[in-house]
Amino acid sequence: MISRYAIVCVALGVALGAAATWRFARPAEATAVALRERPGDRAAVPPIVIERGGARAEDIRSYVGEEVRAALSERAAATAPTEAPPAQAEAEVQPLAPTMAFAPAKDHITQRIAQGTWTTADRDYLHGALGAVNRTERMELIRELLIAANTRKIRVLTGGPPF
């Protein structure tokens, strides 16, 4: 009988403790939710002002400004474009060696422009040729074909990209 009474008392105590914990935890949580859901309230929070022997607002602003300026100048120095390596710069200046594939491809385009149509077979041919020429030649071939297509000198019948 006594043990049953004790068990009931322990259970009651646990319940009361849990209730008390819940009771005191809830207001804080509710406040947090209220602040999240009402951003206007955050604007109403007074700004933190440091007084009584601490750094003054002007000092803080000045210090932060100096730090930001220093960080920005360091970052600018770190991200400044470095000069291209000599080999790369030289390669960009020097004309690329002509390729064997260029002349036939150029002739092909000229011939097709004269004929007036550009078919899927032409597309497949040029698609392969563009991978075999250098970048200057590639741009020249593309230029010649696209100008002809845009000015209606050649009808593109590829159902998509012409190369």
Binding site: R135, R138, R143, L146, N150, R155, V156, G160
Partner: protein
């Protein structure tokens, strides 16, 4: 009697509700190739959806990206309208290539060629609910 009346009312209500359809704005943008009045250069635009669903069997619009060894990635943007007019421009500008690569099935695409007749002066990709 009451049961029949209830069923009739229910059927009527269902029919009334199903008859109302809300779909939002729907723009029709087939492929168009034209000369831009401000620059005098060739331009093309259209939505992917309306190009694909065009009643003709030839319209298309889109961009391809190619990466050749030793060269910057190139975007080739092309379009063909219902009348068979063709448009193309190419770009190696990273920002334009990026925009070209962002085109998807819900996009409205717009291209303008530069004065040289080859390079893209502008590449646009609009993702817009009315073009879905």
């Amino acid at each position: 009697m009451r049961n029949t009346l209830f069923k009739a009312t229910l059927v009527g209500a269902v029919l009334a509700i199903s008859g109302v359809t809300y779909a939002g704005l729907n723009s029709i943008n087939p492929v168009e190739i034209f000369t831009e009045s401000s620059t005098g250069t060739l331009a093309a635009h259209g939505s992917m959806r309306d190009a694909r669903n065009s009643p003709d069997s030839s319209s298309y619009i889109g961009c391809w990206e190619s990466a050749f060894s030793g060269s910057p990635t190139m975007a080739l943007c092309v379009a063909l309208d219902a009348q068979g007019n063709f448009f193309a421009c190419q770009s190696t500008e990273p920002q334009q290539v990026e925009v070209a690569a962002s085109l998807n099935s819900a996009s409205f695409a717009s291209f303008v060629v530069a004065q040289d007749g080859v390079t893209c002066a502008r590449v646009e990709a609009l993702q817009y609910s009315a073009d879905l």
